[in-house]
Amino acid sequence: MDLNLTSEEMRFRDELRSWLTANVPADWAERREESLESRFEYLRAWQRRLFEGGWAGVSWPKRYGGRGANLMQQVIFWQEMALASAPPMANTLGLGLIGPTIIAFGTEAQKTRYLAKILSAEEIWCQGFSEPNAGSDLASLQTEARVDGDFYVVNGLKTWNSYGWVADWCELVVRTDPNVPKHKGLTVLLVDMKSPGIGVRPLRQITGESEFAEVAFRDVRVPIENVVGNVNQGWDVAIGTLMHERGTFGAGLQITFRRNMERLIELARELRRNGKSSAQDPLIRQKLAQCYAEIEIMRWNQMRAFSRINATGVPGPEGSIQKIFWSELNQRLQEVAQELLGPYGQLEGISTHSVDKGTWAYGYLRSRGNTIEAGTSEIQRNIIGHFVLGLPRSY
């Protein structure tokens, strides 16, 4: 156990740090009020700059445009991005989930075709997993793909696609064999979102914005070489993606939580309660300390998990504790923020009295989705029960 940086890691960090100092744009924080679309284009340009600097895919193989470094350097990258208050990258799902899935399961031709454009944000990716009738029971999905010559013909409806409104490509899970048990007839396809027959409808969510979309497929033709992994073994590929989602995807979030926490502490010093600073109120102190502690534990859990992945190469089902931990922590943090802010907590950014441009009202609502997206807390607990602790399957 050695939590100090190695000399190689130190060199990496120093080089990254000086690059970030020279390149991080200063105006990201002021763009909260802009539309989702305009903010997205901003982030896309920022990711392009990172890619050109050689930083977009730290742990991805060099021959596909990555840096060829290890996962620990990837972790250092996230830390440094946060310390530099750098904006996030645009192609979140491509970088965090779909790229790693193609690296693990894709053909050489697929890796050459797709990976570099994920890193450069030239092609934005979404995931077509959930359906109106297949949420937690993902394997029951109905979107079907029939073979027609050198193509699959896809019909069905996907929902809750993050970035569906802007995506160029989609990692789509379809049913290719309806006559076998549900887990055994699935296949993963890479689908061009500009294909004829695809209809994208934005889904308006609890916050009022539309991060997600519903995507309809009507006789959409997908070349058979776009299958990832083997036909009818798509469940393994999908689970591989989901383990990345649960295990490593939370790394960048820890940084966001840290920032929110630091801001909450500042706010506690400014706001008054019972005739003194809220930062001196014993109950507020207890709650802030609890959140602070859990954010640190989230980091230590992640460091342990990353060290394990770095040694074994793949995230395991124990990544489910990361997903439960960050999602429930963020909800508690947002609740504490609301309590601290009192009546101000509810104000939206357009109010002249709003605190932090309505971040906290937004965060309170947005965090409500955290224990649902990327596998509900209930599903994560099933996974721990069955796959980690070896308890019998409950369903």
Partner: protein
Amino acid sequence: MQFGLNESQEILKQNARQFFAGECPMTHVRRLAESKQPYDPALWSKMAAQGYMGIIFPEKYDGLGLGKVELILLMEEAGCALVPGPFWSTVALAGAVIDAVANVAQKTRYLAPICRGEARSTLALLEGGATWDLADSKLAASNGRLTGEKLFVLNADVADFILVAEQTGVFLVEAQAPGLSITPMPALDLTRNLYAVQFQDTPVEKLGDGTNLTRALNIATAALVAEMVGGMQRVLDLTVDYAKMRKQFGKAIGTFQAVQHQCADMYLETESSRSAAYYAAWALEHDAPDAATATSIAKMYASDACRAVGNRGIQIHGGNGFAWENDLHLYYRRAKASETMLGDATFHRERIARLVIDAVPASFGGNDRSLR
């Protein structure tokens, strides 16, 4: 950066696990727990022969000279086996305090016998007010003599010498000293006894002022958390085994999500406590600027977690978990005692608040010192 055990650490942990499984099985723990004097000199000698008593102390005092991470791994296994008696109080508490505050001659006289397994000890900290803040201590030695009372002193009756912390520093009292009397305070934990210790013009030897006491108490706290983690792991293992074996409605109860999800929470709480204990140990070993905060975070989280894990474990065991014959209550009792020892979650949350809210600007810890 590697947050995993290296090969020698893995070996140390596995050896400790095997040692305790062989030399301190639950039947033995239970026999000692029910005997009202949970100290076994034979087990003590065997543990000393393994070098456990001197694990973190310098070789010149007959210790092994290993680090805090190694201590934490050993304590984790001791907690898993529910090792009874004065191990933690002698090594992680009194030993760490002597190592931190005493001079070379005193260490030769008191720390070396601990390392060799020839002496047992403890630290008397609390008084009637029962606050962990030493500033609240009312006792004060004067002219090498002490009068007054300390409460909640672990394992005092088997200690060869007792350390006493008061406002001006740390003192040592020999077990045979005149004016010293030790009275049991019967309590929940059957594997470690508490005592009231009275001093009546009792001669004491000053070991040092309180400057380094906090650092030693942080080490003791991290070791205690590791012991709690071992206990949580054992309760989780027992509970998962039971949920697989126990049948109701024609199925193993572990099939039901109401049971599975509680097991999943036990796993999450145990693993998160373990991450915190390991990080705190590393931070203490390397004098990281966030070592005190990390220690409090670990004790805070584990104090709530060990209670929750115990509650869930017993709940899943149903009536069997409530029975005296079942081992769970021995862990449950220890968990409650350890939760309180050196400050519960509320105490440590306030300590965290002092460290991170009252400090301006608020800053997070990190493994890279240049981050701060």
